[in-house]
């Protein structure tokens, strides 16, 4: 088949147009768009919403019973300082961190009852061991691993050390200065390493959150919109309209038109969701100032750079194109919509795999510089997820990112060829069960 380029483009656009308009008019599409806008804006404004809800409260109350342990430091004051100190790895804005309010009390039983009914978060009781050391007991509804428990435990250690120093004859000094956390920076050991990555704990935390969110968005787009393409193919096959269209357009044109049409709609939905969400994110300080009083500025959240957004955009378009094309090819092999999920399952699994490795690497469960992550970040099916994560964490250089994008872009024609081949033989096959053998036969057919 050698249709002119003009005819090819015209047919791709005609198919894409129908796909775009028809799908865009469905109630499902409108409903999901509205839902996603609500969720997106809600997530973006979550900190403001939480502050709004918490505006009356003065933080979690922790009650302390010193009893007759007579520690060398003023435990409620020290605990208050330690618990509300900035924590590495978490946002440090005093207004957004959960603040603790430490109060001294005497009645253990009454305080325990308050923990049970929820009006107090935890109760810390001090005592002395026979060796004269301070001993702590925490009454809480949380688990041992909860954030509050761990913070109180760290604070208790500091208090115990100060207590021991005092008993050893070293006089107590200014407590605020004593418990202030030191400066603590983490730098790459290799002086030549990429340095545009996050340097401090705070930066790390916000970049981590951003790349985590971006890879979730990418993952959702590929699965959700890829399935739209697959269902659209199966639908045409099911209604037998395929043959009419195939008399007028080549399988390649039909398939490309579908991917462009659904992709365009996906992009529209994305923009419709992202613009208000991003606006909410950027203006959240203003919104907070309006709702809660005070003044606020306008700023991009930390960790989002123009470069990261451009790469995300590229990975979004290319990653979607790759998966969508293969989804279309696979779906052309089955004749019933019920079989679609089964035949596209291998692709979905690959996609889930890429996403999981990326989020494990992002959270540090897999070291970000492990060979697995580095190698996968260049392989087309995984690179959209992993290169984005590596870039977000600053461990990928511009050259590496460019190579991954080039490889991904270069692989798309291969996928197109493969899918068009599947499509050509698949669209006229009816009554086949979706097995690997069907796939193999379709690939080998003329």
């Amino acid at each position: 088949m050698s249709p002119s380029l003009v005819a090819t483009l015209r047919n791709i656009m005609a198919v894409a147009r129908r796909e775009f308009l028809w799908r865009g008019r469905t109630r499902t599409f409108k409903a999901t768009t509205v839902l996603l806008v609500v969720v997106g804006v809600g997530l973006a404004l979550a900190p403001v919403i939480i502050r709004f809800i918490d505006r009356g409260s003065t933080g979690d109350r922790i009650e302390v019973v010193v009893g007759d342990s007579s520690p060398a430091v003023d435990v409620p004051i020290a605990l208050n300082l330690l618990l509300n100190a900035p924590i590495p790895g978490l946002p440090t804005d005093g207004e957004t961190t959960t603040a603790y309010r430490v109060e001294a009390t005497a009645d253990i039983e009454a305080a325990r009852a308050r923990v049970v009914d929820g009006s107090t978060s935890a109760l810390l009781v001090l005592d002395r061991t026979s060796a004269g050391d301070l001993a702590f007991t925490l009454y809480s509804k949380d688990t041992f691993l909860s954030r509050t428990t761990q913070l109180v435990r760290q604070a208790a250690s500091s208090i115990a050390i100060q207590d021991r120093l005092t008993r050893a004859g070293i006089p107590p000094i200014d407590q605020a200065a004593l418990f202030a956390p030191p400066d603590f920076d983490v730098l790459a050991a290799d002086p030549d390493a990429v340095t545009d990555g996050p340097q401090t704990g705070e930066e790390f935390a916000s970049t981590f959150a951003i790349s985590f969110v971006l890879s979730i968005l990418l993952f959702m787009a590929i699965i959700l919109y890829g399935q739209w393409v697959a269902f659209s193919v199966a639908e045409e096959k099911n209604s037998r309209v395929m043959e009419v269209v195939l008399a007028a357009a080549t399988p390649f044109q039909l398939m490309a038109g579908k991917v462009v049409g659904v992709g365009g709609l996906a992009l529209v939905q994305y923009i419709v969701v992202l613009v208000p969400s991003a606006a909410a994110l950027i203006f959240q300080d203003r919104i907070a100032a309006f709702v809660l009083g005070g003044s606020g500025g306008v700023a991009l959240p930390e960790g989002i750079s123009i470069g990261l957004l451009v790469v995300f955009g590229l990975m979004f378009v290319l990653g979607f194109a790759l998966y969508a094309v293969l989804y279309a090819g696979a779906a052309s092999l089955v004749s019933r919509q019920e079989d679609v999920n089964q035949i596209v399952a291998p692709l979905t699994i690959i996609s889930v795999g890429g996403y999981l490795v990326a989020s494990y690497a992002g959270t540090g469960l897999i070291p970000i510089d492990s060979p697995l992550v580095v190698v996968l970040s260049f392989i087309p099916f995984f690179s959209p997820y992993l290169m984005l994560t590596r870039m977000g964490l600053g461990t990928a250089g511009p050259a590496e990112i460019a190579i991954a994008i080039a490889l991904l872009a270069a692989f798309i024609p291969v996928a197109l060829w493969l899918a068009a081949r599947l499509y050509r033989s698949g669209v006229l096959m009816y009554g086949q069960s979706p097995t690997p053998r069907t796939l193999w036969r379709a690939l080998r057919a003329r």
């Binding site: 045409e236 043959e243 009419v244 008399a247 007028a248």
Partner: protein, 331 residues
């Protein structure tokens, strides 16, 4: 100027669907494409339209391979009708036309025109799934014709249409033909073939059984059908003495005879020689239906037996009537 199919072979796994099909359709012809179910008609049509590729063989239109012929040359009505179930009729038609580079406004105007001619203008805004099967078929036909293709290829265009719509479709066929369009269609309704087609191709199990202008096809069978009526005699036992003559059917006022290898006039001569009073004598070519059944329906060896010819039944008789009509028209 013609559509030429040359030695098409197509296999699906172990099954050979087409085994060297060759025939030619002249431009401007109405061409009947016949064959039993599963003979390979749909596969052949799909290959002509380049929806399927043959394992070997070529299809050319005016000398150009079908793969290089512009798509808008063809209009196709597939056997399995298909429309977008939830798309409005007009939108559907405009979409199909847009694949052939027809501007949207132009396509909409033409579509409305056709809907009116097929007497369903009120369904313009309806979704395809709301239409009855016959009306869906009409929409499907319009979709195949809207871009004014040079060649219309239709798989069973008459199936599912009521007599009024069949007449409308025939009318449309006539108009297309006047405009020099080539029409190729398959059908199991042989009276349609007799009535409409100038030439036919008959395929069986992937092979061409016979093909060419309809009169040649009829004559190629080497036999003729004679209808003889004799006053006061419905049995005509003396016919048994004539070699090459067999009784197909005995009726009230005439007997239908199958004549091969001799001049049908001999029968009239023999009747007159016996002094019979002849009330009817008609010579006709066998109907396409008879040829179809003869060539495809059963092994040739059964053909000689009167009993099995009788078992082929009343359908054969109707065929003769139609055949007689067309033979007369041809003279």
């Amino acid at each position: 100027m013609s559509l030429v199919l040359d030695s098409l072979v197509k296999r699906f796994g172990q099954i050979t669907a087409l085994d060297g099909i060759s025939f030619e359709v002249e431009q401007g012809q109405v061409f009947g494409f016949l064959g039993a179910n599963g003979a390979g008609k749909t596969t052949t049509m799909r290959i002509v339209l380049d929806i399927l590729r043959p394992d070997s063989g070529t299809v050319t239109w005016n000398g150009t391979p079908t793969t290089d012929v512009p798509r808008r040359t063809w209009g196709y009505l597939p056997e399995e009708r298909g429309l977008y179930p939830r798309l409005e009729v007009l939108e559907q038609l405009v979409f199909f036309a847009s694949l052939y580079a027809i501007p949207r406004r132009d396509a909409a105007a033409r579509a409305r025109d056709w809907l009116a001619r097929f007497r369903i203008p009120e369904y313009e805004k309806r979704r395809a799934e709301e239409l009855s099967k016959g009306n869906q078929q009409k929409v499907q036909l319009i979709a195949a014709m809207l871009h004014e293709p040079d060649v219309l290829i239709m798989d069973e265009p008459f199936v599912g249409l009521d007599p009024v719509n069949v007449a409308l479709l025939k009318e449309a066929f006539g108009e297309m033909r006047k405009r020099g369009k080539t029409l190729v269609f398959s059908t199991h309704q042989m009276e349609m073939v007799e009535e409409l087609c100038e030439a036919v191709a008959l395929i069986d199990r992937g092979r061409l059984v016979l093909g060419g202008p309809i009169l040649d096809v009829k004559r190629s069978s080497g036999r003729q059908v004679v209808r003889l009526g004799v006053e006061g005699d419905t049995e005509l036992p003396w016919l048994a003495d004539l070699e090459g003559v067999s009784i197909v059917r005995s009726g009230e006022d005439y007997t239908e005879l199958d004549v091969r290898g001799r001049d049908p006039q001999d029968i009239l001569g023999a009747a007159l020689a016996r002094g019979e009073r002849v009330t009817q004598f008609l010579i006709a070519d066998p109907s396409i239906e008879q040829i179809f059944i003869e060539r495809v329906g059963r092994p040739p060896s059964e053909d000689q037996h009167l009993a099995s010819a009788g078992a082929a039944g009343g359908r054969g008789g109707d065929g003769v009537a139609a055949a007689a009509g067309s033979a007369e028209a041809a003279r």
